[in-house]
Symmetry: C2
Subunit: 395 residues, 2 copies
Amino acid sequence: MTATLVTGIGELVTNDPKRGEGSLLGIERDAAVVVDGDRVAWVGAASDAPDADERLDVEGRCVVPGFVDSHTHLVFAGERSAEFAVRMAGESYTGGGIATTVAATRAASDEQLRQNARRLLAEMVASGTTTVEIKSGYGLTVDDEARILRIAREFTAETTFLGAHVVPPEYEDAREDYVELVTGSMLEACAPHARWVDVFCDAGAFDEGEARRVLQAGMEAGLLPRLHGNQLAEGPGVRLGVEVGAASVDHCTHLTDRDVEALAGSDVVATLLPGADFSTRAPYADARRLIDAGVPVALATDCNPGSSFVTSMGWCIALAVRELGMTPAEALYAATAGGARALRRDDIGSIVDGASADLVVLDAPNHVHLAYRPGAPLVRAVWRRGSLVYRHESV
Amino acid sequence: MTATLVTGIGELVTNDPKRGEGSLLGIERDAAVVVDGDRVAWVGAASDAPDADERLDVEGRCVVPGFVDSHTHLVFAGERSAEFAVRMAGESYTGGGIATTVAATRAASDEQLRQNARRLLAEMVASGTTTVEIKSGYGLTVDDEARILRIAREFTAETTFLGAHVVPPEYEDAREDYVELVTGSMLEACAPHARWVDVFCDAGAFDEGEARRVLQAGMEAGLLPRLHGNQLAEGPGVRLGVEVGAASVDHCTHLTDRDVEALAGSDVVATLLPGADFSTRAPYADARRLIDAGVPVALATDCNPGSSFVTSMGWCIALAVRELGMTPAEALYAATAGGARALRRDDIGSIVDGASADLVVLDAPNHVHLAYRPGAPLVRAVWRRGSLVYRHESV
């Protein structure tokens, strides 16, 4: 294995609480990192750096941990721009919604699903994402959910069974039968391809009792729980997440004070998805309230063709700073260490000795530029597991 | 000169009112365009397209006119991310503001200013902008304002003298002397390098009488008027713009009903700058109100290191749809034909016979994706004046 010294780092964001004099991001200036194989082998001042086989000078730029996008629905077919345009015109949309994507996904070949996911993943990598979670939920049959998860597993270890995304049209008058299916043969077919079980517990989706059954069945099958909750209205999502020890409750747009207290007293991460709030003209989640209460927060894209066709974590960071009340440091932390915690991973989301070598070089002197320069192509180079997986063309 | 046939265009946005059955964007489907030299030589159905020397199939993608960014402050030195971070933390910033950039710009060499502008312009081109306006306003001495405009002219014909950006620190107790300077020797030195004269007419900047003097002096020197107005508070900006026949009043965040009526009864464009509203946590301009009143609207980035360090017109379009009440079609029109009108140009901003061949190929089936996929790298190729100036690396 070749060791590479990345040096000339003007600002290094480590997320290491032992560095940077108590700053949230553990910032080191004039720093260097040694990447050995797929791991970080050394972090420190550039002037103290050891020798290495190769040497790369990033000329004063900022280096941050690769983004951890802990909530995506990346395996699907089709697009819903017409629905988006109608929604933005303030009209109510009577088209198919999720059912449109379910129909397109069922009709697509494996290779079509794979190609679409590959294209979106390439966008994600180019925008600095080095770990991605992928959910099922656009198949909603035993075979299609298992197929989606098999394809998702080709791209990531963080796969999530979301058979309980919506009740599919053919079960409209038989939701109990659908919950039986999800917790029975569908779970059995999907569990081998998934690490997580998820449920959309919200107004118009699955109620508390149904959601509890889905999560408990998944946990009995060896999956770890997480859930969609409190996106559309106040409800039982957070309460249930705390009850079952979910790694994360995702969305958290509508929270009562008791929800915030419950989160603060638990180990559950609140994963905020500003792309969904943006693209559905919903109110934005209040990250400030959560952070001030001591709740760990993650940011993710929620990439899906209906409510958040977003691949860029940098864009989510900028939006979180403008609209969710986060500082640039808090937003970057949530998009890296926060996402890692939401996936219960301690090997990613930070740049420390022994961590996965997931590094992003920004064409900027500091991390604030992620929010200060919204929409700008700041990502210059990306290493994932020690391999250079993206390099921006020179401009 | 070589003629190129661009064909396989799934959706062609022409902005031609004679096309597309009365749709704002003059959309043609399954279309083709012939580029001959620096001009559009033919537009129509792919099946009717004439032969050409070269042929490029864009495989069903969407083609739109190059963006016209009619409001930027691109020639400057330094950055103000610390000021941004403090502002986003909700604290008031007692640093230098514009004066910080003025000091850095005065201290920079021509080559430093040129390199910084070149880097930002490259970002703009890669995000689909083919015409850019550039203002002075960070020099605020006779020599520095003229120097900025000379450098700006290397990049664009659309240069704007904005000596009346703020009163510089050295004239703090002598604003009348500064207005004398701006309308006298500074104007004389700058007019040869500028097409436009601009003034920041707003609370805390220049008052109505001062702004009128600046614009009138500029007009007497052969420059065309435009102005910054109604950004920070209601005020005389719009009224003055209509009075002097300005091409555009830029910002228009705070408008009275009388302002909207005055704009609607005039030929003045309201140029909206959502990046500034975003980055200063200001209320967003109400595009819906203006459009419904019949006011022509443009979108621009306001690219500057203080209040809107934005280069991407696509990002502005997405924000305009989410926050300014525009439809995706209205926002795209404002970012192309609207910008052209704000610069009083009829050769850009549309894809019609004889127009400048400024074309953007989007990696999307339709223009809605500019708002539907916020933050995504949709720009695949850019032609400016008939030359391919950007091509996205394949992913």
